[in-house]
């Protein structure tokens, strides 16, 4: 089910360490019609982006090995990946996290636990297409 192999570009790369959350995201976004790739720790994100060339990134903040914010900083500092739309997911709902995310150049921000429609809506907005189902 996961898009592996590296030759096929995906629509969305999900970086999430909780297996059940990853499964739910995979399910709802795939159902909306997008192709999905995923990584489960912070260090694997950049590699995944280069390999899978996703149109956007869904990034959890509390990742093992490297935090989501760290990863976002690197992406924005990288000439190639700078323009990649990033949707931040966090279980820490504080205002402070939202502000940090904005400062670092996140394009969207969704707090866990999310409603599926919210995530799909945010992704659709960032991808800018109406291809997916309503």
């Amino acid at each position: 089910m996961r898009t592996l192999g590296g030759f096929l570009a995906v629509d969305i790369l999900i970086a999430e360490d909780e297996p059940s959350i990853l499964e739910s995201l995979d399910f709802i976004l795939r159902r909306a019609g997008w192709s999905i790739g995923s990584v489960t720790d912070g260090e694997a994100v950049l590699d995944g982006v280069r390999r899978l060339r996703p149109r956007m990134l869904v990034l959890d903040v509390m990742l093992p090995k490297r935090s989501g914010f760290d990863v976002l900083k690197q992406i924005r500092a990288d000439a190639e990946m700078r323009s990649l739309p990033v949707l931040i997911l966090t279980a820490k709902g504080q205002q402070q996290d939202r502000r940090i995310a904005e400062d670092l150049g996140a394009d969207g921000f969704v707090t866990k636990p999310y409603s599926n429609a919210e995530v799909v809506g945010a992704v659709r907005q960032l991808l800018g297409d109406d291809a997916g189902p309503a």
Binding site: D17, E18, P19, S20, I21, E23, S24, L25, F27, I28, R31, D41, M62, P64, K65, A91, K92, G93, Q94, T111, K112, P113, Y114, S115, N116, A117
Partner: protein, 902 residues
């Protein structure tokens, strides 16, 4: 028999010799501070001025009449010098510090620098000493008559002169001699090195003379034994019937007081003392001197009684015995010895008294009447002092002469001396109180001395005129106005006492009573209290009390002017130059600081007494307007201001400390608050994670259609799993929270730790096998009892084992469990061959919500397991920490105290 002219010429020549001695002694002492004149020997010899002609002639007479009574006069001083060394040392120290010049000065200075007390003591001393001086005149007169022989008395230059005329001549000669000797200059410390040298020489002469007579008597009397056995044959024996009776003890007590209080003794012992250490030598040497003086007294008296004709004067045995044996040379030497003892006493006594009279009576009068015209006479006060002293000497000797004149018919010498002793003893209680009793007050002391003196005058002085005045005889027999209980020698009906014991008892008892009771009911003034502390605590604190002068109201010039008037131009200039040199400034620039004024006051006190010096400087420095009371009040106010500001300082310091504590507490609270925020944020995260899955999958399930049964089954099972995880998380949070508060949901009871470990292993057995773990067992101990709870202990072991499983990503995972006993502790090591724990995380892993950064294979824990385990172990009084394990990965070590093995 010797010719009267020859005897008198010898005496005059002897006096001339003394004068030469004194003159060179003075020059020598001035030129060289460390000359032999400053030696303890000279000091001791000068103290033996105590042995007067009373001792030389009178003691023999006394021994002949009353047996051992004469001994008390030596015993008292011996007791003081041997046993009361500390008293003398204290007196010397105080007197040096305060430039004390006499007993009157000591008492006046101690009791608030009171001029009135000084006057009182001086007057009593002058009157009280008169009989004593009369005694010396009588002794000299009698000795001249004895040695020249009454048969030849009408011849030579003494033709037509009776004993009164002779005594007058002696007194006049003594006055002249003393004036020439003792009042050549006014000294800061009132030390007279020349006079002391002469006195010391006289001490040697009188001792040698008496010993020579003694040796001669013993020689012609056939040794001590011969003398006493002949006396026994003749029915004579030393009269011991009155030994150790009330009179004996009275004279002993009086001589104790006298050696300290007699003006001349105070002068030589205290004022002329140049080194406290000399007292040590005097402590044994002076008693030894007196012993030597007294050794031959009994043999001379006894031999005299056996060989001399009935009715001859026993006082003159020392002269008449050699004369009777035809030893004119020895008689003349003995005469010179007696003459020495008389002259030394008269010279020193009149010098000491004249200093008192001039400092305490004349000087205050001069100050009072010359206050308005202190211009022009630079040497004024100095010269005035000398004149005052010369007049005083004349006055004192006149008084002595008049007493001699009125009582010339009385026979014995010794009783006259005791009259003086009783008068002088009135100072003794006050003197002791001055240096030992802080609460003694001026009023009480003044009243005590005055009362004692009045009783002395009534009971002791008055009766001595018995033989010359019929009025006195009537008074003695019947009392004043016929009131019998006021009879001078039988006060309050105390008839039949020895008159001396009677007088001494009443005067001293009432003296002491008034002093003690008066001091208890009166309050000393401020200055008295200052002086009391300075005197009583002389050895306790260094330095002198702060003088109470208002600074700034006088210039150095004003002070110099005062100093010049009292000390004379030369000494004043020297003093100011010395002070200026000490401070490294020009003499004109000297600031009249309280210290300097205090120093100046002490210097002036050496010349004019403490009270006069204080009055004089107060006038200049403070002006007459500022009283001591005001001064003390100012000092009190300053003290209060200082205390108030110290209190304020203390309060503000306390406030500062409180603020600091508050701030610390605040910081701690903020710290705790941020910890709480952090914790809540962590909890929120941990709760939101399972909630996210539950919500998301519930929404998927709630939407219609599209899901097959397998998917539906899987999603429901995930929701179930996450709900359990959520419940477990909340349980753990509550558990940890309780543990952290120190609570324990279990009772610590003896449990078998090894059994708990085995149970945990069997619980994890399935998990281990599923993950392909190879479990190794190291050393295992048998049943080991610890304090704790079996289930909780098991929970800790399970946590450790499951952690090892969770984080171990090795290809061939291994687990090694060891248990052992070390130093009374039960130790379990749980080691694995996983990645281990990086150094940076070693302390972190026991914190709440900390999870290995390397990530667990199974990332379902909330990160509370180790924190909870550690708390559980802590509640069982054990520890849980990382250790160096036998496998490459992490090794957790649990340690619990062992209860005992079963």
């Amino acid at each position: 028999m010797l010719s009267a002219d020859f005897v008198i010429a010898t005496a005059v020549a002897y006096v001339g010799l003394l004068f030469v001695l004194a003159y060179f002694g003075d020059r020598r002492a001035k030129a060289n501070e460390k000359s032999w004149l400053n030696s303890p020997a000279v000091y001791t010899l000068s103290i033996s001025v105590y042995c007067t002609s009373w001792t030389f002639y009178g003691a023999v007479g006394n021994a002949a009449r009353s047996g051992l009574e004469f001994l008390t006069i030596y015993l008292g001083p011996t007791l003081v010098f041997v046993g009361w060394y500390f008293l003398l040392r204290r007196l010397v120290r105080i007197s040096h510090l305060h430039r004390i010049t006499s007993v009157a000065d000591l008492l006046s200075s101690r009791f608030g620098k009171s001029s009135r007390l000084g006057v009182l003591v001086t007057c009593i001393a002058v009157v009280g000493i008169a009989p004593y001086i009369a005694l010396q005149l009588k002794a000299v007169t009698s000795s001249i008559q004895a040695v020249a022989g009454s048969s030849e008395f009408g011849q030579g230059s003494l033709k037509g002169i009776d004993d009164v005329g002779l005594a007058f001549g002696v007194a006049a000669g003594m006055a002249l001699f003393t004036i020439l000797f003792g009042t050549r200059h006014v000294d800061a410390k009132e030390q007279h090195h020349g006079v002391v040298a002469a006195i010391a020489f006289e001490a040697v002469v009188k001792l040698t003379a008496l010993v020579a007579v003694g040796v001669f008597v013993v020689y012609i009397g056939g040794g001590f034994e011969g003398i006493f056995s002949r006396a026994v044959e003749m029915g004579l024996s030393v009269d011991t019937s009155t030994s150790f009776d009330s009179r004996w003890f009275t004279t002993l007590g009086l001589s104790i007081a006298a050696i300290v209080c007699l003006p001349r003794q105070f002068q030589v012992t205290v004022v002329e003392n140049s080194n406290e250490d000399h007292l040590r030598v005097a402590g044994w040497a002076f008693p030894a001197y007196m012993m030597a003086m007294s050794v031959f007294i009994l043999p001379i008296a006894t031999y005299g009684l056996t060989v001399m004709p009935e009715g001859s004067n026993p006082d003159m045995f020392a002269l008449t015995l050699p004369l009777a044996a035809g030893q004119n040379g020895l008689a003349l030497f003995a005469f010179i010895g007696g003459f020495s003892s008389a002259t030394s006493m008269i010279i020193l006594e009149s010098i000491a008294l004249s200093i008192m009279v001039s400092n305490h009576i004349i000087m205050p009068l001069v100050l009072k009447f010359s206050a308005n015209r202190h211009n022009g006479d630079g040497q004024g006060v100095s010269r005035m002092l000398l004149i005052a002293r010369r007049i005083s000497i004349g006055l004192i000797l006149s008084l002595g002469f008049f007493y001699f004149f009125f009582t010339r018919d009385s026979n014995a010498l010794a009783p006259i001396g005791l009259i003086s002793f009783t008068a002088i003893a009135q100072f003794f209680p006050a003197l002791l109180a001055a240096i030992f009793w802080r609460d003694a007050s001026l009023k009480a002391v003044t009243a005590a001395i005055a009362t004692g003196f009045v009783i002395w005058a009534w009971c002791c002085f008055l009766p001595s005129f018995d033989s010359v005045s019929p009025a006195v005889s009537v008074l003695l027999a019947e009392g004043p106005w016929g009131i019998s209980w006021l009879r001078p020698e039988a006060m309050f009906g105390r008839d039949g006492w020895d008159p001396l014991a009677h007088a001494a008892f009443w005067s001293l008892t009432i003296n002491v009573l008034v002093l003690v009771l008066g001091s208890l009911i009166t309050t000393p003034s401020a200055l008295e209290r200052i002086q009391a502390t300075a005197f009583v605590d002389v050895f306790r604190r260094r330095g002198l009390p702060q003088r109470v002068f208002v600074p700034g109201s006088a210039t150095a010039n004003d002070l110099y002017f005062v100093a010049e008037r009292v000390l004379g131009e030369k000494r004043a200039a020297a003093l100011f130059e010395m002070v200026a040199r000490e401070r490294g400034i020009d003499p004109v620039m000297i600031e009249p600081t309280p210290e300097f004024v205090g120093q100046l006051e002490r210097e002036l006190a050496g010349s004019i007494g403490a009270a006069s010096a204080h009055v004089m400087l107060s006038k200049v420095v403070a002006g007459a307007d500022v009283s001591l009371e005001e001064m003390m009040q100012m000092a009190d106010e300053t003290q209060q201001a200082i205390e108030y500001s110290q209190r304020l300082e203390k309060t503000s310091e306390e406030l500062r400390l409180t603020a600091q504590k508050l701030e610390d507490a605040n910081t701690q609270l903020r710290e705790l608050d941020s910890q709480k925020d952090e914790f809540l944020s962590q909890v929120s995260h941990e709760v939101r994670t399972p909630m996210t899955s539950i919500r998301s999958f519930s929404e998927i399930l709630l939407e219609p259609g599209e899901l097959d049964d397998a998917q539906r089954q899987r999603f429901v099972s995930t929701i179930h799993h996450e709900s359990l995880r959520l419940t477990k998380l909340l349980d753990e949070i509550l558990d940890l929270s309780a543990l952290e508060r120190g609570e324990r949901s279990w009772q610590n009871v003896p449990v078998d730790a090894e059994e708990a470990l085995s149970r945990a292993l069997s619980v994890c057995d399935a998990l281990l096998r599923q993950k392909g773990f190879k479990v190794e067992f190291g050393e295992r101990v048998g049943t080991t009892m610890v304090e704790g709870d079996a289930d909780r202990l098991c929970q800790v072991f399970i946590n450790l084992i499951s952690n090892a499983v969770k984080y171990n990503d090795a290809a061939q995972p291994r687990l090694r469990v060891t248990s052992m006993l070390r130093g009374g502790s039960y130790i379990v090591d749980v080691a694995d061959n996983g990645p281990g724990i990086p150094k940076a995380e070693r302390t972190l892993i026991f914190e709440k919500f900390a999870r290995g950064v390397r990530g667990a294979v199974d990332q379902t824990g909330a990160g509370l397991g180790l924190a909870i385990s550690r708390q559980i172990v802590a509640r069982m009084n054990g520890t849980l920490e990382l250790a160096q394990g036998s496998l490459p990965g992490a090794c957790f070590r649990l340690k619990l105290p062992v209860l005992g093995r079963r």
